[in-house]
């Protein structure tokens, strides 16, 4: 892990996270209507963003794996799914913490909540598949297909659930084209927080892929060793 890129990413994550925390807790003004709980939004939205990013990487890396057949793409796709699951869970948790004082309930079947929950289930089934399977080429291909199909499904999930019901606040753009964030300082905080989460995501992804690569190497070495022992025993 003592690799300049990894160290650089770690440093960038620490710096940007500290900056984001400072802005969220000290710099940004408290929202007039919702009060202090609105500050969780500066973590909530970046989590949602990286969860979606993770989903995109799962599909993209899955496609590259099917196309090029190199194990590194499979590792990338697996790592992105794990991180995506983590951040998708955080989205649901932070959302619930916010919803309780504002909407009066922990959970409601609003369109974006439902969409996120279905995405969470998709990640869950992907990870269950990987957990149940042996680490073979076959399952990597299957997982790639599942990842691609999952991402293809997202637009239809969004449309169907939106038609089903919605009460989620329009944060970035309302139907009239207005901002949900009135103060410029709020926009700045959101942007810094988004950057911090993105860098952190890349760093975690980098480390996780490195670990998976090591695991693949160990499996291969073990197999070679076993074969060699077998050959010697026969001699």
């Amino acid at each position: 892990m003592k690799n300049p890129i990894s160290i650089g990413l770690a440093a960038a994550t620490c710096l940007s996270m500290v900056a984001a925390l400072f802005m969220v807790f000290v710099y940004v003004p408290t929202e007039a209507e919702q009060g202090i709980v609105q500050r969780i939004f500066y973590f909530h939205l970046p989590c949602a963003w990286v969860a979606f990013l993770g989903f995109g990487i799962v599909a993209l890396a899955g496609g590259l794996y099917l196309w090029l057949g190199h194990k590194v793409w499979d590792d990338l796709s697996y790592a992105a799914a794990e991180l995506g699951m983590l951040f998708c869970t955080l989205v649901l948790v932070t959302g619930s913490i916010w919803a309780k004082p504002i909407w009066g309930v922990w959970w409601t079947w609003d369109s974006r909540l439902t969409t996120t929950f279905i995405l969470w289930l998709l990640y869950g089934s992907y990870l269950l598949l990987r957990a149940f399977a042996d680490d073979t080429d076959g399952i990597a291909r299957f997982a790639a297909v599942l990842g691609i199909v999952g991402v293809l499904d997202i637009p239809i999930i969004i449309i169907s659930v939106r038609l089903w019901r919605t009460i989620h606040p329009a944060v970035l753009l309302t139907r009239q084209g207005e901002h949900g964030l009135q103060d410029l300082r709020m926009v700045a905080t959101l942007l810094v927080s988004l950057a911090a989460f993105t860098i952190m995501f890349v760093w975690l992804l980098w480390m996780r892929v490195a670990t998976l690569r090591l695991r693949t190497r160990i499996v291969r070495l073990r197999r070679t060793l076993a074969l060699r022992e077998l050959a010697e025993a026969h001699r």
Partner: protein, 224 residues
């Protein structure tokens, strides 16, 4: 392009006609799911159409995953898959054939469910049922496309057959919403025009997943 489609389909159907295994299991499972739903929610009441639609789709999802598993597992069990893959038949053609088989199984289960539904919920056999047909057909195309693609996992992973619904249900969620909403509206006596948005959504889902399955099937169907 679809050379080999006919023989595979004929073989699976002949196998089914001779043993009748899948039909018996799927029809009984879906009717039982319906019974469970009726016992749990009660047949009468103001939300009759919604409960009926929900029962129909719940039964279909589980019948669908089981039907698709059967259609693919029969190949794996007796080692037919190797022969099929060695033959000069495109994997996409195998997909198309298996998709058709799965659809026929699902349609059988679905028709049984519909008949029982009419009896249990005191619906009339006329127009509402006829209007339900397009919703039902669009629904099973998408479900069969998804299940056939993903059913290749069973037999390859521990508890693969149990894992299939876990993968299918979240993916099928949008079509499930569209299908059950449209069915509820139609069963409540509304015309097809009122549910056209849902039908379009189901159509889009079908096109997307049949295409995806057709293109991706070659990556998941092989002997380990």
């Amino acid at each position: 392009m679809l050379e080999g489609f006919g023989p595979i389909l004929r073989k699976d159907l002949r196998l089914e006609v001779r043993t009748g295994e899948s039909t018996v299991v799927l029809v009984s499972i879906s009717v039982l799911i319906l019974v469970v739903m009726v016992l749990a929610f009660g047949p009468a009441g103001a939300r009759r159409a919604e409960v009926a639609a929900g029962a129909l789709w719940t039964a279909l999802i589980f019948a669908g995953t089981m039907g698709a598993t059967r259609a693919l597992l029969s190949e794996r069990e007796s080692g037919c898959l190797r022969g099929l893959l060695l033959s000069p038949v495109e994997p996409a053609t195998i997909y198309a054939a298996k998709l058709s088989v799965a659809m026929i199984f699902m349609a059988q289960a679905g028709i049984a469910v519909l008949v029982v539904l009419v009896l249990f919920f005191n619906l009339d056999f006329g127009g509402a049922l006829l209007r339900l047909l397009p919703v039902f057909l669009l629904g099973i195309v998408g479900l069969a496309a998804l299940c056939t693609l993903l059913a290749t996992v069973s037999g390859r992973v521990r508890a693969g057959a149990m894992l299939l619904p876990v993968m299918v249900v979240p993916l099928f969620a949008p079509a499930l919403i569209a299908g059950s909403k449209a069915s509820a509206a139609v069963l409540a006596g509304q015309p097809l025009g009122a549910v056209i948005t849902w039908l379009k959504l189901l159509g889009a889902f079908d096109v997307l997943f049949v295409t995806a399955g057709y293109l991706l099937f070659e990556h998941v169907i092989f002997e380990d």
